[in-house]
Amino acid sequence: MVAAGLQVVFGVQKIFNLACGSFYALGAYVGVSAVGWYVGAGGPPALFIVPLALAGLAVGAVGIVVERGLLRFVYDRDETFQLLMTFAIVLMMEDAIRLTWGTAPRSTAGLYLAYGQVQLLGATAPVYNLIVIAASLAIALAIGWLLARTAFGRIIRATADNREMAEALGVDMRRVYAEVFTLGTALGTLGGALVIPTTAAMSEMGIELIVEAFAVVVIGGLGSMRGAFGGALVVGVLRAIAISVYPELEMLLIYLIVIAVLAARPRGLFGGAAA
């Protein structure tokens, strides 16, 4: 999902947004707080995913602030400025998180297991994981529908293909940029919120994720939504295999694939002409 957010933003705005990792971390922390508040207010534990997802989506609004307040000033600058700007956001967000939530890892206690476990193909899997997988698929389909079938999607695709032409045809570029960046941000924050019951929020989790999301995007193809999905699948599955077959290879493997993909298909596995 974070990779999808990265793709949306890159595809349209041609900004490689390092801050996607911070949005993910922010979503995670806000998710923990929202669930804590919800449980504290006596909400039934079985429905905790509702405030979690809502909080994740709502905090995506920070995207507008970042886009209008900071990013829009660097659109016409060199890519280096844009990278530096998004990296600055990463550092600021990490400190903001530390100030707000402290340095100790935060987690949602035992809610992860609130939905129980099921036996699947001889292995035990927590139901929550299945819900997240289903939710991710639903979001992927929704984004696909949004991009392919709606007027908003057509404008986004047109802008991604040829910004000047779209602008000449009367597309309000400022609005599109703000909307797209917010969408990308919300994908990141929602991803962070949904994953948090399975793990714990740590202030540096954003930076951890950026490298991985970057690899996913490069493998899948910059700016391609199918690429984000395919890339995430490739990285996830291969890592799991590496860990059980030859653990020392785990970290290296991802970069080997990145190198292989860059050498053989520089546009990525799914990167078409549009990227």
């Binding site: 530390r98 987690s107 992860y112 927590p126 399975t198 951890e208 799991a240 860990i243 653990p247």
Partner: protein, 426 residues
């Protein structure tokens, strides 16, 4: 004053006091007084960012608690304590801040240092600057072997691998019939050293034990689903894990999600450092869990420990981890050493006399009696035990509690770790 940012007014007041004192000493006794008046400046190095930030916070909180307590009782030899706090980050920058503390702030002593990667670099600097440095949690070991066997100014923490050795001693006692063991630790010196030491010790007690899997994810990973799948596949009887930060909580949670500890025993050498995040919902009973050198819920704990735990909980809404005890011991032992070196005349001692007084010194710390070995390594107890849900908290505690001394579980001065373990009579 215990804050790192003293206000301008406080600063001016100090400046005034210092100038006044200097003037007074010029009039009265030119040689004796200048250094020994005004507040005692104590430098503190602590980690502020990254996975070890909570560890750094715990050490600093305990140091502040100590300073407040000592100041309320009249300071050290009548001088109030003033803490000057700097950040521990990478070795290069931390060395610069150490120099700044000594040369610019002119502190009497530097306390702190958590990561051995950093303290390895601090040791020689302390020797060079001739200022006592007492390390909370960092050693001057490269891997498991000492690099500074005869320091003059540097005082180091307990050897990093002791908790793995203690766990290795306790494993055969609580988990009889273990034949196969899998291990997971962070991919840096500490993770690897703990695993090597644990294996060496367990082999002494269970000669036919087999180590079937070792995993070393890097520090800061938040998803262990694949690692846990691999651990399940290994079908080991027992999992040894030396995680000490948020990853300990995460792996516990993700292991519970797939029911890992329904079929496997577990040894968590160091996870007691994040003990209050190990909630009962996902942390099973029956695991061996290590709390390093202080167990907040020790039924035999002193009144001092109980008071500290109570006030820490009231102030921070958390239960204190072991780093507090390292920090308290360092600060309190410095105070006792100064008083001892001052002698009956109560004259503020030279730094060299303070370090002499520290050697072999035993004092009452939060966890009980702790001391400095003659070669400047901390001696103390390690607390480990079997997790239980029978308590008033929402997280696990341990019972029965095992207390193992560094006299038993730490290599003696000047010895090589693996030769020493190979020479045990078991």
């Amino acid at each position: 004053m215990t804050h790192d940012h003293s206000s301008r007014r406080q600063f001016l007041k100090l400046l005034g006091a210092g100038a006044g004192a200097a003037a007074a000493s010029r009039l009265d006794a030119p040689a004796a007084g200048t250094q020994a008046s005004g507040p005692v400046k104590i430098g503190v190095l602590t980690i502020r960012a990254g996975v070890a930030a909570p560890v750094g916070a715990a050490g600093l909180r305990a140091t502040e608690w100590w300073a407040e307590r000592v100041n309320n009782a009249g300071g050290i030899l009548g001088r109030p304590i003033q803490l000057v706090v700097e950040e521990e980050s990478n070795p290069k920058d931390t060395v610069e801040r150490f120099r700044k503390l000594v040369l610019q702030d002119q502190v009497e002593v530097v306390l702190g240092g958590i990561s051995t990667g950093v303290t390895l670099a601090l040791g020689p600097v302390a020797e060079d600057l001739g200022t006592p440095w007492l390390s909370w949690d960092g050693t001057t070991q490269r891997g498991v072997e000492e690099t500074m066997p005869n320091p003059k100014w540097a005082f180091k923490s307990v050897d990093n691998e002791v908790e793995a050795i203690v766990a290795g001693i306790l494993t055969p006692k609580y988990f009889k019939g273990i034949k196969t063991v899998a291990g997971i630790g962070n991919d840096y010196s500490y993770g690897h050293d703990c695993w090597e030491s644990y294996q060496a010790v367990l082999r002494r007690y269970v000669p036919d034990v087999k180590f079937v899997l070792e995993l070393f994810p890097k520090l800061g990973v938040t998803d262990f689903t694949s690692h846990i799948a691999a651990i399940q596949q290994s079908k080991a009887d027992l999992l040894m894990c030396s995680f000490w930060s948020g990853d300990a909580t995460i792996i516990m949670k993700q292991a519970a999600a797939v029911g890992l500890f329904k079929t496997m025993k577990g040894v968590f050498t160091t996870a007691g450092g994040v003990h209050d995040s190990l909630k009962k919902e996902f942390t099973p009973e029956g695991l061996l869990l290590g709390y390093n050198t202080m167990y907040f819920d020790d039924p035999k704990g002193s009144a001092l420990l109980k008071q500290f735990v109570r006030e820490y909980k009231a102030k921070y809404n958390e239960y204190p981890p072991y780093e507090c005890d390292h920090a308290f011991f360092n600060a309190e032992s410095y105070k006792v050493a100064v008083e001892k070196a001052a002698g009956p005349a109560k004259k503020w001692p030279e730094k060299a006399r303070v370090v002499k007084a520290l050697e072999g010194l035993e004092i009452e710390s939060l966890s009980g009696k702790r001391s400095w070995r003659e070669d400047h390594v901390q001696m103390c107890n390690f607390y480990q035990g079997i997790t239980t849900h029978k308590n008033a908290y929402d997280f696990v505690t341990i019972g029965p509690l095992e207390v193992v001394s560094t006299k038993q579980a730490m290599k003696p001065a000047g010895s090589k770790l693996f030769e020493w373990i190979a020479g045990w009579k078991v």
